[in-house]
């Protein structure tokens, strides 16, 4: 059964230094608020997993908390580079960053294997690319039935997965909808699961195509309204495309980045204060 607790408490008890964490979300429902809490608490030597490491991963990497990144596309969507990620790879600043790189389909299927209790999944991708020879956990094998060459990708089981959803009820059942990406598989493959939500309701009204995560699949549910900013929670908040563009100039320079993090993340207590600190700064 999921416990309902503060995100401060959830991060403190469930995120352990040196462990692997997946903060998933594919453009939509990105758990930025929980990511900031990891930064405030200064968790160390993390292995981060996500298909699309975007701004919150750029921040975690730039703050030197990340040892290794397992990913499939590391950019600022529609804008360009993630400068803190690039600085870490190109100049080892603030520290060296180990990479394990996949395709979206490959990493998605690694979660599917992890969620299904299988050692690996098979797929047709990777062949003909240089990724195959640079990436552990992907290999070409023969189909035992037809002999066809297929790619195998190893299961991934994060120590902790964090996702954001629109709603939970008081028992800790969770519902999310809109672009649901890989969140269900990331939650089902993890050893520990934290879900931050926009709202806690008395009773969940089921929606078509929504992902439902029953309380027993989750460890902690935390109410963090606006906790996806600058991403969004469909029907609750809007994506702030201007902020994604603005991040390019904030993150390009090391000092500008550090000052921004100090002012808006380290000196704020929670997501509410973080959002208030941005007023007048963006849009």
């Amino acid at each position: 059964m999921a416990e309902i607790a503060s995100v401060q408490e959830a991060v403190q008890t469930l995120i352990t230094d040196h462990e692997s964490v997946a903060l998933e979300g594919f453009t939509h429902l990105i758990p930025q608020g929980a990511g900031h809490e990891i930064i405030r608490q200064g968790k160390k030597d993390l292995t981060l997993i996500r298909l699309t490491p975007d701004l919150i991963y750029d921040q975690l990497i730039g703050m030197g908390l990340v040892k290794k990144l397992i990913f499939s596309w590391g950019g600022n969507p529609g804008v360009g580079s993630l400068h803190r990620f690039r600085d870490a790879v190109e100049h080892q600043w603030p520290r060296e960053l180990e990479l394990e790189e996949h395709t979206h389909a490959g990493l998605a299927n690694r979660y599917v294997a992890g969620a299904s209790g299988l050692p690996f999944m098979v797929m047709k991708g990777y062949r003909g690319t240089d990724l195959l020879r640079n990436t552990k956990n992907a290999a070409v094998i023969d189909c035992p039935f037809t002999g066809e060459k297929v790619a195998a990708v190893a299961a991934i089981n994060p120590d902790t997965t964090i996702i954001h959803a629109q709603q939970a009820d008081r028992k800790g059942n969770v519902q999310l909808w809109g672009i649901t990406g890989i969140q269900k598989e990331a939650a089902f493959s993890a050893k520990k699961v934290i879900v931050t939500v926009e709202e806690v309701v008395d009773k969940i009204e089921p929606r078509p195509h929504a992902v439902f995560l029953p309380s027993f699949t989750i460890d902690v549910v935390c109410k963090v309204p606006g906790g996806t900013y600058p991403s969004y929670a469909l029907d609750y908040t809007k994506r702030d495309n201007q902020f994604y563009k603005k991040w390019d100039s904030i993150s390009r320079d090391r000092n500008t980045f550090m000052n921004w993090m100090e002012r808006h993340v380290l000196q704020t207590k929670n997501t509410e204060e973080f959002l208030r600190s941005l007023e007048g700064v963006v849009t």
Binding site: P77, E101, H104, T129, I182
Partner: protein
């Protein structure tokens, strides 16, 4: 109406999309071209973004593959394992629309690193959905502005396979899709030679000379016997494109 090379490129790309096709769209130029086509001659085309939105009909061009505009205007939204396993790998995507940082003479694409993998000069975003789109969409359109540092003899990293070493090296790998059929640039069009699969200049835009294309390509470009000149943008194409960009 006056137009820019970028507008010409986007309009030429839009013209390639026939009505009713399912098209897996990358963000940026591919997204602009595919949406322009949907607003002009291909209203029944099904645009698929890798966030899992299928049959999207955005009024404004999205900034990212997962903007709420796409979620709110799609026929359905499916999870990522479904979009990649059932739709793309299951052979249900007619056209994959891609760009990249580097391309070589056999239309292989790089979006991973410039320099060596372990010690890159420039770390690019990486693969995303491109490798699977390139190998599994029934046909692939590539759209990239001509620049010497992008059109290179040998790319630093094969992120997405075009025709690999040329001739039958792609078909030997048994991919679902037939590979890139066209590379749309801002000066003209390149297509793979039917036998060798080497990219060949087949069409030029009005007022562009063959030498201009060669100047922006890092290998000795093959040129077709009868290079055609592409029709310039029509007023309605330009107007619609500008409307989309402004919205």
């Amino acid at each position: 109406m006056d137009y820019t090379p970028d507008e010409m490129m986007t309009i030429v790309a839009a013209r390639q999309l026939t009505d009713g096709v399912s098209c897996f769209v990358g963000i940026g130029l591919p997204s602009a071209a595919a949406n322009l086509a949907r607003h002009l001659h291909a209203p029944e085309s099904i645009l698929i973004y890798e966030s899992g939105t299928i049959g999207t009909k955005p009024v404004a061009l999205p900034l990212s593959i997962g903007d709420e505009e796409l979620a709110e205007t799609s026929d359905t939204i499916v999870p990522l394992p479904e979009i990649f396993n059932y739709w793309l790998q299951g052979n249900r995507v007619d056209i994959g629309f891609l760009g990249g940082a580097q391309i070589d003479r056999f239309a292989n694409l790089n979006s991973t690193v410039i320099g060596t993998y372990d010690n890159p000069n420039v770390r690019l975003p990486g693969a995303g959905g491109a490798p699977e789109i390139a190998s599994m969409a029934k046909e692939v359109f590539i759209i990239m502005p001509l620049k010497k540092r992008a059109f290179v003899e040998k790319i630093d990293f094969i992120t997405s396979a075009g025709f690999l070493e040329g001739s039958h090296s792609r078909t030997d790998l048994g991919f679902n899709g037939s590979g890139p059929s066209i590379v749309i640039t801002d000066l003209g069009i390149l297509r793979p030679d039917p036998e060798s699969k080497e990219l060949t200049l087949t069409e030029l835009y009005p007022g562009v000379k063959e030498e201009q294309v060669q100047e922006n390509i890092g290998w000795k470009l093959k040129i077709a016997k009868n290079v055609q000149v592409v029709e310039p943008p029509r007023d309605e194409e330009l107007q619609k494109l500008r409307e989309l960009k402004k919205a």
